[in-house]
């Protein structure tokens, strides 16, 4: 058992999360290769998740559905149900919370746990990990792999590099043995090292995680600043981050929405339609939470991610607002001032510098009360009868996305 000074931190990762949820919901697919894939008719026709069986055929996440079907013609293709995955993810959070109150989601399928205070109640870290695994599998049909160590970074690494590859799916990475274990591993397997960073590190003669750990810190900070130090600390397992359920998750700094367009938009008449739709969503979220914002920001990006175009700008309003029209007016101003008329593929609107809307400064100009009443009515209609029960007429144009968007979460079907 760990001594009192050391924390016991775990990272629990769900294997092929979306695919596992679908397999649990459809027992008839047991023993068959299954993938969850976005709508093949649209740009998003890629594999979001593949079950272990499908992976055996060589199907990988993020490849095109067509390529996957070529590798495995019997593949069962399921449409995503994002709302259900969020529900199951929270169900798993709840199971973890029955072992410790210190649970922190890192993504939809990864969560950190600090079980230091639970050892006296539930046994050794490995026993706790097995019980977590058992309960999640039994209650949701999802198999979790658990990396165990004494800080968040090492638990994440223990999971990614070891627990996912060992039978049993549980691995404890001990700080005393880092040199013989972690440091012998290639640097590209490390948390926060992507393909581009790997290339740069190779050029510096850094091939293993040990090489990185033994590199003098200034060599890394000279080149990458803070990010160099982040990598060096990860390689050495230096990490004091707490596992906290009250993370920034709960305090909202801004409300933003963005969308990827189905095709390039180059005409202001088309762009302003989606701009208004985004402003409407931002305004409505703020109104629902009882917040107003002072700063409107707008951003857009071109379709060619290798030759980035576009901008991201913000402006402060004269009064904080959550009225759609006022957000939209500022967004239009920003867009017309900074857009260079190149086609765009991605567009975003955000409202920040938030304050509660219970106190409203009276303004001399504009008919704010009428607008507020109008939006209270339209919000109520949407809440009761669905997102598309009432729409701006402009959204019915070909460039409008409101109807398509209302069916989705994170760009994938609900």
């Amino acid at each position: 058992m760990a001594n009192s000074k050391n924390r016991v931190i775990m990272l629990a990762d769900c294997q092929s999360f979306y695919a596992s949820v679908e397999k649990a919901a459809h027992p008839e697919y047991e023993g068959k290769p299954l993938v969850v894939s976005g709508d093949p008719a649209r740009r998003s026709g890629i594999i979001l998740a593949a079950c272990p069986l499908a992976k055996k055929y060589g199907v990988t996440t993020a490849e095109r559905l067509g390529d996957a079907l070529r590798k495995c013609p019997d593949l069962i293709v399921v449409r995503p149900r994002m709302a259900e995955y969020i529900r199951v993810s929270l169900q798993i959070t709840e199971i973890f919370q029955s072992f410790t109150d210190l649970v922190e989601p890192y993504s939809i399928d990864e969560q950190h746990l600090d079980v230091t205070g639970s050892l006296a109640l539930f046994g050794t870290p490995e026993e706790i990990a097995r019980r977590l695994q058992h309960r999640v599998l039994y209650e949701t049909g999802v198999y979790v792999r658990v990396g165990i160590s004494d800080c968040k970074v090492l638990s994440k690494i223990a999971c990614d590099i070891y627990a996912k590859k060992v039978p049993g799916g549980i691995y404890t990475l001990r700080r005393e043995h880092l040199e013989e274990t972690l440091w012998t591993k290639p640097v590209h397997e490390m948390f926060m090292v992507g393909s581009r960073m790997t290339r740069h590190l190779y050029k510096m003669g850094i091939h293993t995680i040990g090489d990185l750990a033994k590199t003098p810190l200034p060599r890394l900070t000279e080149r990458w600043g803070v990010n160099g130090e982040v990598l060096w600390r990860i390689a050495r397992g230096i990490d004091a981050s707490p596992v906290t359920p009250h993370s920034q998750l709960q305090q909202q700094k801004g409300v933003g929405h963005q969308m990827t367009l189905p095709r390039d938009y180059a005409d202001w008449k088309e762009i302003r339609v989606v701009l208004l739709e985004l402003c409407e969503q931002v305004g409505r979220r703020c109104r629902e939470k009882g917040l107003m914002g002072f700063v409107v920001s707008v951003g857009c990006q071109g379709a060619d991610y290798d030759h980035p175009t576009g901008f991201s700008r913000q402006m402060k309003l004269s009064d904080p607002t959550n009225i759609t029209d006022e957000i939209y007016r500022a967004a239009c101003l920003l867009f017309q001032r900074h857009w260079n008329h190149l086609p765009i593929r991605r567009i975003a609107v955000a409202l920040s510098d938030l304050s509660p809307d219970s106190l409203v400064q009276l303004t001399l100009f504009g008919d704010r009360d009428r607008k507020r009443e109008l939006e209270k009515a339209t919000d109520g209609i949407k809440r009761r009868f669905g997102e598309t029960a009432i729409l701006r007429a402009s959204s019915l144009q070909d460039s409008g996305q409101a109807q398509e968007r209302s069916l989705r979460i994170g760009g994938h079907y609900k």
Partner: protein, 115 residues
């Protein structure tokens, strides 16, 4: 020092969460925290006492709101007696289960039913 190097910065900055997931999580967490009973204004307390006393004397129905976790309970029935010494009322919910005592401290609202 940079935010990434302190506190929970590394994980806050690299966390990947859908806004819908974030919101569902916040709702989930709020549900876990025990609710705090509201602080009642003395005038509101007086008003509640008046409503209940009137209902008791006239024998008319009244709807009371009891503070509870996870949500408040609303009951409609009759006040049979008020026991100021022990700060409680004798309540008949009209459901055939007879009367019971309810602590005044649990009551956070009372409205006369005018029918």
């Amino acid at each position: 020092m940079s935010k990434k190097l302190q506190g929970n910065g590394l994980f806050e900055s690299s966390r990947m969460m859908l806004p819908e997931h974030r919101e569902a999580y916040i709702r989930h967490q709020q549900h876990l925290a025990p609710r705090q009973p509201p602080l009642l204004d003395p005038q509101a307390e007086e008003e509640m006492a008046r409503v209940m006393a009137e209902a008791m004397h006239s024998g008319s129905a009244v709807t009371i709101t009891l503070f509870d976790d996870p949500e408040d309970i609303r009951l409609t029935g009759q006040v049979l007696r008020i026991d100021p010494g022990r700060r409680r009322i004798c309540w008949d919910g009209g459901d055939g289960e007879g009367s019971r005592w309810i602590a005044l401290d649990q009551i956070i609202g009372a409205v006369a039913e005018n029918d």
